[in-house]
């Protein structure tokens, strides 16, 4: 069997309080990968090709979202994996954890409405240079649900300039037509930022939930291209 045909193995970490871990496993399997459950207290990533930090309320999100999970034992392995160039995707709480861990710039804070919000949103792809956007072009939009109480992306002025300047924004909340404006900003994120990547492009996080938009039996499938990109990324052996 050639390398390109083997089934990619994608790990999903379960922290205490992770909620969308089974959903992420279901999504990657639906897309043709093998889902590998990873446990927060383990130190071994079981040789997976990519790591997903799923949504939820790890450790209750007490103190701050993601603040306690970043100290979980498996995070050392995740960080080492990322340092070697391994693809890491943080979804919602996973995004919050990656920011808290300093693996992604910025932070997530309470929605400007002060309310939890669960609804489908359109997000515009800003770069093809992430593990989940390789099959998408900048300017394309996908419809994916959000569900979070603390999804307002913030960063200090200097850092924001760097994030924008270095092209680290991966997704912005937009209309289906790609128009980015306040009316399409569900939580008050600066610059409508819905997701960012790191400098080397192998770590990416976003608030919307692509794993909840892959199963045509349940609803729309705007998340499929993100997972298809991830499978292609690991299949290419990057």
């Amino acid at each position: 069997m050639s390398r390109g045909e083997r089934v990619p193995r994608i790990g999903v970490v379960t922290f205490p309080g992770s909620l969308d871990d089974r959903d992420a496993l279901h999504a990657v399997e639906l897309m043709g990968a093998q889902g590998i459950p990873l446990w927060h207290a383990d130190t071994d990533l079981q040789g997976v090709d990519a790591v997903i930090l799923p949504g939820g309320f790890s450790y209750g999100d007490y103190l701050r979202t993601g603040a306690l999970a970043r100290f979980a034992r498996i995070m050392d392995a995740v960080r080492a994996f990322a340092d070697r160039g391994g693809p890491v995707l943080g979804i919602c709480n996973g995004f919050q954890i990656l920011c808290e861990a300093g693996m992604l710039p910025g932070a997530l804070s309470r929605n400007d409405s002060l309310r939890f919000v669960c609804r489908p949103v359109s997000i515009r792809v800003e770069t093809s240079g992430t593990p989940v956007t390789g099959r998408l072009l900048p300017g394309e939009t996908v419809e994916i649900p959000i569900k979070h109480g603390e999804g307002r992306y913030v960063a200090g002025k200097e850092e924001l300039r760097r994030i924008e300047g270095e092209g680290l924004v991966a997704f912005r909340y937009s209309g289906p037509d790609g128009v980015v404006d306040d009316a399409r900003n569900p939580n008050g994120s600066v610059g409508n930022i819905a997701g960012v990547r790191n400098g080397s492009g192998n770590v990416v996080g976003l608030m919307p939930h692509p794993e909840h938009a892959v199963d045509p039996d349940v609803g729309p499938v705007g998340g499929q291209p993100l997972f298809a990109s991830l499978l292609q990324y690991v299949g290419a052996g990057v």
Binding site: Y59, C118, G149, V218
Partner: protein, 733 residues
């Protein structure tokens, strides 16, 4: 003055009940014993006012695996799977502290489902508040919704439905009901039929025990709230959804690995209830050691530990040989699991603290031998007068268009998006349809099956005729489920009433039970369990008699489920069922005529059943594009909602032989608006004829306009704006 009362009365026990306790024990009870009896014999735990009447509900059916009496009922859905579901009220705690009251309500009902060994897969929240123009009602509404979201979103169980209603009597008495649905392999249900052995251990796991909700059962849940109820705030429990999530996973792992003889959640009456019920069900006694209970605060007294309602605790019954494995599972999930009791022969429950015996009572006397009352009942004195003033014959001066927008934007009818968007509807990746349609549709993981879930209460109808109000609630819940194509299987109910010591409340209660029983028999949807919530009143103002029905329906193949919205142009719109001049208790009468009076619409149970069967058959034959119940607001609202949901306009004509306000706003029962593709019309009409259900062709779908011939011309966009903006606008006031 309260402090001059004897202790038993302060704890809510009557002199007669105190006498019964003395007779049972053959001596005066100690204070810890008295607190245990007070908690267990409270209305909330003992059902003492309702028990005799609940017996008349139909509880048996071929699909029922577990009926009333366990933590939740269970129904067979085939393929070796069982659905476990239950509804409960958390109204009293929510009236005092809306966020925590509602949050802990969610926590409690979820633990009822896990204690049956089932994974919770869906939550529904039927809520009733006073009008939103009062600031306090807005505070309660916003707090309750935030609390449900704050807890439910954090435990990984999707909130997929419910209802929100507003009515004057709920101003100081919000009615907060929570329903949870779970799924388990049928052969792995944890029920009292499982053998518990002498010498088995009771392992308390989860959160530590604090002074939360001390007296919550006897003081909070079982007495009418007085002015200044805020003073009872310390009695309110605080929820920790993170702990609950760990509790769910740990409990299910214990069940899956076959490590348990029994499982009980700690709810009302806390440890007392869990230990005494577990022992009594097994025909055993127990020795309970309070020194082993992990405490959050130092210096707690026996009665406090015994009746604390600290959240997120479970009690597992374990054979000694499996203790190590059980504790390892708890530890893996970061929970403390300690042995607090063991079962013994005989029926005695002995409780020790600091080496001393603080209570020694028969377990059954707490759990099963509480008082039973047949309270006097009489119809309200003003009932006839209320029914006499029938809005059907009122003079209507308003224009149709104005009436349409008034009813559409009435908070009872208007979009509840503001609420639904605060709940995670997606987690567990099986939600096919959440709030907004007729019933929520949730796929059973890994199968083609789906559950259709609806919760319905008809308070205004109940106020005018409690028998009909209750029967309508069952009918509407079943119809909502049938509109998706699912077959109604069984119900759970939450009976929300005022003070049962008042004869008119008791009459409302018995009439409602009669209505539920008749409807459930007619639809073959037995009652598998539920909850009675009395004392929903303050001063002279009681809530309307509002049984809330949680209906479970089953779709054999979710791909054949029917949507509520129209789908593009060119389909034919029909009304199934007849419209009669029945405006009594309607939304139109309240909003446009300012009348809450008359008789509710009649309900022919056989017609209703035929309609539901027709909907199920039509869906199975893939004959329907859409189906939507004609409920609150009548035909005009059903049509508008289908148009808004599907972003598709329509043109219909009304019958010439009735005034427009009857055609548009009558709330006659057993009616559904469907749309059908050209190619299916012949088959559909033939099926309807065979079923003997009245059918009227109304018109066609298409375009951006809403056109009701001769009465109303507007656009889908204008209707959507009115429908969506109503509740946010009221909240911004």
């Amino acid at each position: 003055m309260a402090q001059e009362q004897p202790l038993h009365r302060q704890l809510g026990l009557t002199d007669e009940e105190f006498g019964d306790i003395r007779q049972t024990l053959g001596r005066d009870p100690g204070s810890a014993e008295l607190a245990m009896y007070a908690a267990m014999w409270s209305e909330h735990c003992s059902y003492k006012s309702s028990k005799v009447h609940l017996r008349s509900l139909p509880t048996e059916g071929s699909a029922v695996l577990v009926g009333p009496g366990e933590d939740a009922g269970a129904v067979d859905i085939g393929d070796g799977l069982a659905v476990v579901f239950k509804i409960e009220s958390h109204s009293h705690p929510s009236a005092i502290e809306p966020y925590q009251g509602a949050a802990t309500g969610v926590g409690g009902i979820v633990r009822d489902i896990i204690s049956m060994g089932a994974r919770p897969i869906a939550l529904l929240d039927p809520l009733r508040f006073g009008p939103l123009d009062e600031a306090r009602n807005r505070w309660l509404f916003e707090g309750v919704v935030a609390g449900i979201g704050g807890y439910g979103n954090c435990i990984g169980v999707p909130t997929v439905g419910g209802e929100v209603h507003f009515a004057g009597p709920h101003s100081s008495n919000p009615t907060i009901n929570v329903m949870c649905v779970g799924v388990a392999p049928a052969d792995r249900l944890v029920t009292s039929a499982m053998p518990v052995h002498e010498g088995s251990l009771m392992v308390l796991y989860g959160a530590a025990t604090g002074r939360d909700g001390i007296g919550g059962v006897s003081v909070l849940a079982s007495a009418t709230l007085e002015e200044g109820a805020e003073a009872s705030r310390p009695s309110v429990q605080i929820g920790d959804p993170f702990a609950e999530k760990l509790l769910i996973e740990a409990s299910l792992e214990l069940v899956e690995r076959g490590l348990l003889e029994g499982l009980q959640d700690l709810g009302g009456a806390g440890l007392t209830c869990a230990v005494s019920e577990s022992a009594a069900r097994a025909g055993l006694g127990a020795e309970l050691d309070l020194d082993a209970v992990p405490l959050r605060e130092a210096g707690m007294e026996a009665f406090e530990i015994l009746t604390s309602e600290s959240q997120e605790r479970m009690l597992a019954i374990v054979s000694p040989g499996k203790l190590v494995q059980v504790q390892a599972v708890c530890e893996r999930w970061g929970l403390q699991g300690v042995v607090v009791a063991k079962t013994i022969t005989g029926g005695g429950l002995t409780v020790r603290l600091g080496g001393e015996i603080v209570a020694r009572v028969p377990a059954r006397s707490l759990a099963d031998e509480g008082p039973v009352y047949e309270r006097p009942s009489a119809p309200p004195a003003d009932l006839a007068e209320r029914q006499e003033d029938d809005p059907t014959f009122a003079t209507v001066t308003v224009k149709a268009e104005e009436a349409f927008f008034s009813v559409l934007a009435s908070p009872n009818v208007a979009s509840k998006r503001w609420v639904a968007e605060q709940y995670d509807a997606h987690v567990q990746h099986n939600t096919i349809a959440a709030a907004g349609g007729d019933a929520a549709v949730v796929r059973v993981d890994g199968t083609l099956r789906a559950l259709a879930l609806s919760s319905d209460g008809k308070g205004r109808f109940g106020h005018l005729d409690p028998y009909l109000g209750a029967a309508h609630a069952v009918a509407e819940a079943a119809r909502n489920v049938a509109c998706t194509g699912a077959r109604p299987l069984a119900i759970t109910n939450c009976l929300n009433f005022g003070n049962p010591e008042r004869p008119e409340v008791m009459w409302q209660f018995t009439e409602s039970i009669r209505g539920i029983a008749d409807a459930c028999r007619a639809f073959d949807t037995p009652v598998t369990g539920g909850n009675v919530s009395f004392y929903n009143e303050s001063g002279d103002s009681a809530v309307w008699p509002t049984p809330v029905i949680g209906m479970l329906g089953l779709l054999a193949d979710h791909r054949l489920r029917v949507r509520s919205g129209f789908r593009g142009p060119g389909t034919t719109i029909y009304q199934l069922g007849d419209t009669l001049p029945e405006l009594g208790g309607s939304e139109f009468a309240e909003v446009v005529l300012q009348m809450i009076s008359g008789k509710p619409p009649a309900l022919e149970l056989a017609h209703e059943r035929a309609l539901q069967q027709l909907l199920v058959d039509a869906a199975a034959g893939d004959l329907l594009v859409s189906a939507h119940d004609c409920g609150d607001g009548g035909l005009a609202i059903a049509l508008a909602e289908s148009a808004i949901a599907g972003d598709t306009g329509f043109a219909v004509t009304l019958p010439a032989d009735a005034p427009w306000y009857v055609s548009l706003f009558s709330e006659s029962a057993s009616r559904v608006v469907v749309s059908v593709d050209e190619a299916r019309i012949a088959a559909f009409e033939a099926l309807v004829a065979r079923a003997g259900v009245p059918l009227r062709r109304l018109g066609e779908t298409g375009g951006p306009r809403i056109s009701i011939d001769g009465a109303l011309e507007t656009t889908v966009e204008a209707a959507r704006e009115a429908y969506e903006s109503a509740i946010p606008t009221l909240l911004d006031a």
